[in-house]
Subunit: 400 residues, 2 copies
């Protein structure tokens, strides 16, 4: 059974309870609580339609400080007008009262169905129950990672250890995300804890940079969600000398944070709704970074391409033609494409390859598509998954 | 049984044969031949990766003149390098020889699998057979409409009659297109014939304008094809006084042409791969035409939205959140959305509606989604269809 590690960094307790928000009756409400106010940073959905929690969190995180995170799954409390906004304030008040924490230091995340109100009676009871059961146990860690899931099949967690001036520090993360996943923001919920002692400016800088290279590189269905939030809390309890400059120690921290974020991002793509395989699509040789980005996006946004992934069909024509309408500059005679390491298209003409053998490779859990535009030195990538009957089943049959 | 009408306008003969290009052995090669050189215009895919036929046709149509169109389905002859280009020239030579027509007046269209070479022996035999069987019969018309199909389930055809200065004229069209359908070009093959006497400049202008409002408004799977072509041939045999100015008669012609194009475009959306319903998505109240376009595109490009269509699920949250990341300017508190005529979201909050009754309406063959951004006076629309297990089956299971 997979493990979650949010309390591995020193200074954190977590809890998860069944509050009755999810119709399934599963774990659906959690708390992440630091012993002391933490240095904190966050990134949010760039959707114009966002839940009130995102609006309020965005304001609060300006302080670079937070002590607790409330999270619920099942209902996203988005498109719920003034009542939705009041409910977020009520949650902060309740959490603050139970834990004796300033309401300004409490962040709220809700994920799930759009347009429904939170059952506030159940939520308030859930908060009390969760506050009473905060702990640093592996079970609590695991339960929390479970509680934040919606259509996800498995929990997503990651852990890195680093040594900073003789002190050992940890960076841990959990995430959820399966549908409504497209980049250009933090594309899901992810919570990161660390005991590294670091300034608010630098933790924000590291998070922003690493989210761009990880969570924002995941695309399941082109659909940008309304609740996406990534939060990091840094307790400082590793007792390293505070990192206040972008020096070698900062770089070490940022690199480790990047590994955690990348690991979680891959787990999200692999658990995309209905996914049977996780595919990394890389474009290199682009004339500009925007060209590389555009070509990657058009490939992963094509349902035709992603159906071919599902069928383990080395249909390079779909990939190459998607690049063709991406707007990226290239000479078709210099374009090359390989699938799972096998060259399939080169210099404007098809390569000879063993289609049956390649199809078998595409039945593996993870493989790559590589396109070289032959037009420059820029590159980009995206994590995606196949488009299956399972995706349609999940999103057509289960009614709002 | 549906009828096709390409020979209703005076001055055209057509033929279709089984040349053995489609593995299924179905009709796969056709000719459209005018008695005399016609005034002609065409629009093509804007994909950077296009078949050699598109490149060559684009050049030829500059003359504003054409007399014959060769078309085959099964193999698109795209990404086939120099050999593919030579094959197009061979086709023109063969058609020219059989029909005694100048090679410059012959256009070529190929649709089907990317990256395979045309079986030129079979193609040349097919051309001879087709040239020998040209006729003005309803059966030939129907066979041709059938021959150009790939994954389409049904033929697509349309006819309009107009009176011009006492003369009756016709505009007829057939089309194919089912997958790899996204706007921003002529998104499929469509062939239009008319006996209207009109200048090349004006027929080009009318076609360009009407394609934008019809074929370019269809989106099945965001994937722009490599072979898309719309061609119109005007024989002039209705014997109306030649239309050379953008006057009332020109407007009458353009309007009728628009009706034919719109009718064909709707038929393409309704026959999208795996489609069970055809949905017109309209956005109005936009601050600019590009905002209206962006909002429409993001709605129809979301597989989440189109799965909800498939499930007859009035999931307005997916529609509204897609508008939210479209980049269009709007105030969420002024946004309204209705599905199949039923208001579901207004002024930033959900409307009360009978979900079961609305779901029943969504099980109809055709219905609308209407979003009002409340930000201006611009509007746009798109024809799309639902995303079903059938789409995945078609595009995952049938290997290249």
């Amino acid at each position: 059974m997979s493990k979650a590690f949010l309390t591995k960094p020193k200074g954190f307790r977590v809890a998860a309870v069944k509050a009755g928000i999810k119709a399934s009756g599963k774990l659906d409400l959690g708390l992440i609580v630091a012993d002391q106010p933490c240095t904190a940073a966050a990134t949010f959905s760039k959707n114009k339609i966002v839940g009130p929690a995102v609006v309020i969190d965005r304001e609060k995180i300006q302080s670079g400080r937070a002590q607790a995170v409330f999270v619920n799954a099942g209902i996203s409390n988005t498109c719920t007008g003034n009542r939705g906004e009041r409910d977020v304030h009520t949650i902060c008040r309740e959490v603050g009262k139970c834990l004796d924490i300033d309401s300004d230091d409490i962040l709220v995340c809700s994920t799930g169905i759009i347009g429904e109100f939170l059952p506030m009676g159940k939520v308030c009871k859930g908060i009390k129950k969760a506050a009473d059961s905060l702990s640093r146990t592996a079970l609590a860690d695991r339960n929390l990672a479970q509680a934040i899931l919606t259509t996800d099949l498995c929990i997503k967690s990651s852990l890195q250890k680093i040594s900073l001036g003789g002190k050992t520090a940890c960076i841990a993360g959990i995430a959820k995300g399966s549908g409504m996943i497209a980049p250009n923001m933090a594309t899901m919920l992810a919570f990161l804890t660390t005991d590294v002692n670091i300034s608010a400016t630098l933790v924000r800088r590291a998070l922003k940079h690493q989210v761009k290279l990880s969570f924002n590189k995941v695309n399941v269905d082109n659909h940008m969600s309304t609740s996406d939030t990534v939060i990091i809390l840094a307790s400082g309890q590793a007792q390293n000398k505070r990192i206040t400059k972008a020096d070698a120690k900062y770089k070490k921290f940022e690199k480790a944070l990047g590994l955690v974020c990348d690991d979680l991002a891959r787990q999200i793509a692999a658990d995309g709704e209905g996914a049977t395989c996780m595919v990394t699509v890389r474009v290199r040789g682009a004339a500009s970074s925007s060209d590389a980005y555009a070509a990657v996006r058009k490939i992963v946004e094509s349902p035709l391409v992603r159906c071919a992934f599902n069928g383990a069909d080395p249909n390079w024509g779909r990939i190459v033609s998607a690049v063709g309408y991406s707007g990226a500059k290239f000479d078709p005679r210099k374009l090359t494409c390989s699938i799972a390491g096998v060259p399939v298209f080169r210099a404007g003409t098809p390569c000879r390859f063993n289609a049956a053998a390649l199809s078998r490779k595409m039945k593996n859990k993870q493989w790559d598509v590589l396109v070289d535009l032959g037009a420059g030195r820029y590159q980009d990538f995206c994590y995606t998954c196949d488009l299956s009957r399972g995706y349609v089943r999940i999103n057509a049959d289960y009614h709002t």
